[in-house]
Subunit: 240 residues, 2 copies
């Protein structure tokens, strides 16, 4: 039932079945190449090729010098695919990137009530410190991806849906990687984004879902303007 | 900047750069293997291996007997990865599948206002016919995946965000593939799901976002019960 496209799919599928049959979980060592050849009754070259395909899907992980393990099944293939799609999208309207950003907004909005339940009446000095760090960097004209990632990761840390958390992070990673390739200066109003992080947090601590939603929209407005500017400047070619 | 995990990444990356540099788009023929070897100054075996990895990511597409083309950059690697993740998840609580379903619900809810704008005051005989088709099949105890897929695809067809449409379809595909592997009978109240499709459509035609949201929740309730039953029966092992 697991369909993997492309040639060599049969060894790929059989290795997946073997992982399931053995009850292996992410991080467990994979059988050796020799053992796989014997158990699948196939050649070393097909096993090797299948393992590379599985590595590109993060179903196995090659740690050089340490061996091969069951992978984390992360969303890295999605991230890579969508970054490539964003770079291919030279219709000058940056549609692929806008769609990614819209989905990130949809996720942030969809968890408003859950976040209010988690944060109402709490104080969060670590999150405040991250906002302060972003503010200092932005004031110096510096980008602040690490603090931004840390803020959003920590904000969502207690949400029960791990796939939602990973998807939010994947979309973050896609636009954070792709937007600098556009070769446009970040919007001058980037400090508004920093303050929007603060407003999101304050709203959640106050138990105000509506104010949180408004702050989410504020948070993405400068990014939207950056994408508008890049599209207008017809600078999309610089994406490659 | 495009990071592809696993061995052989260098030929993989260089082929991606070549696709970008040549301005190729999905469906365009790829250069021949010989041409790629010459242009990347690398061996036939690394090109071949890289192309297989790219095929598994749907960045290229091998049409047997016709050659190799730039792929559709679909979400099939995500679908395959998440189905595998669902099958690995034998903690007996079916968490991976529940997370997928929750995300599908979040997407359906996130577009309520957009759908109301599209459907208010319209009549949609094709969508009604699909609901009728589902009802007849369900009444006979038959599954109705084709009509279900057609309904959701058609309902979202005019939404502008293509990535959102693909993601909704990907999540649909994951639970539709994985749930039958659980080996439990579908919930007896599956007719409620059929009627919920009708209620979603009626609400949208009436311009009532709130009623649409309520119908979305109704739509997923029988699926939730099926997952509960499967988890309770400890039947997760049957997933493999």
């Amino acid at each position: 039932m697991v369909r993997i496209k492309g040639a060599g799919s049969s060894a790929v599928e059989r290795i997946q079945e073997l992982i399931l049959a053995e009850g292996l979980v992410p991080g467990d060592p994979m059988p050796t190449e020799t053992a796989l050849c014997e158990r699948l009754e196939t050649s070393r070259s097909s096993v090797r090729e299948a393992m590379r395909t599985l590595a590109s899907l993060d179903i196995v992980e090659v740690r050089h010098g340490h061996g091969t393990f069951v992978g984390q099944l992360s969303l890295s293939p999605l991230v890579n695919g969508l970054i490539f799609r964003a770079r291919l999208d030279d219709g000058n309207d940056l549609r692929a990137l806008r769609e990614v950003v819209e989905l990130r907004i949809a996720i942030d909005l969809s968890v408003a009530d859950q976040l209010v339940d988690l944060y109402r009446g709490t104080v969060n000095p670590e999150l405040e410190a991250l906002v302060e760090q972003m503010r200092e960097l932005a004031a110096q004209g510096e980008p602040f991806p690490e603090a931004d990632a840390a803020f959003h990761g920590a904000l969502f840390a207690d949400l029960p849906n791990g796939l939602l958390r990973q998807l939010a992070q994947a979309f973050w990673e896609i636009h954070t990687t792709a937007v600098p390739m556009l070769g446009v200066a970040p919007a001058e109003d980037i400090l508004d984004t920093v303050e929007a992080h603060r407003a999101m947090l304050v709203a959640l601590e106050a138990g105000d879902a509506e104010a949180y939603r408004a702050a989410v929209h504020e948070h993405y407005r400068p990014l939207g303007r950056t994408l508008d500017a890049a599209a207008e400047a017809g600078r999309t070619a610089a994406l490659s």
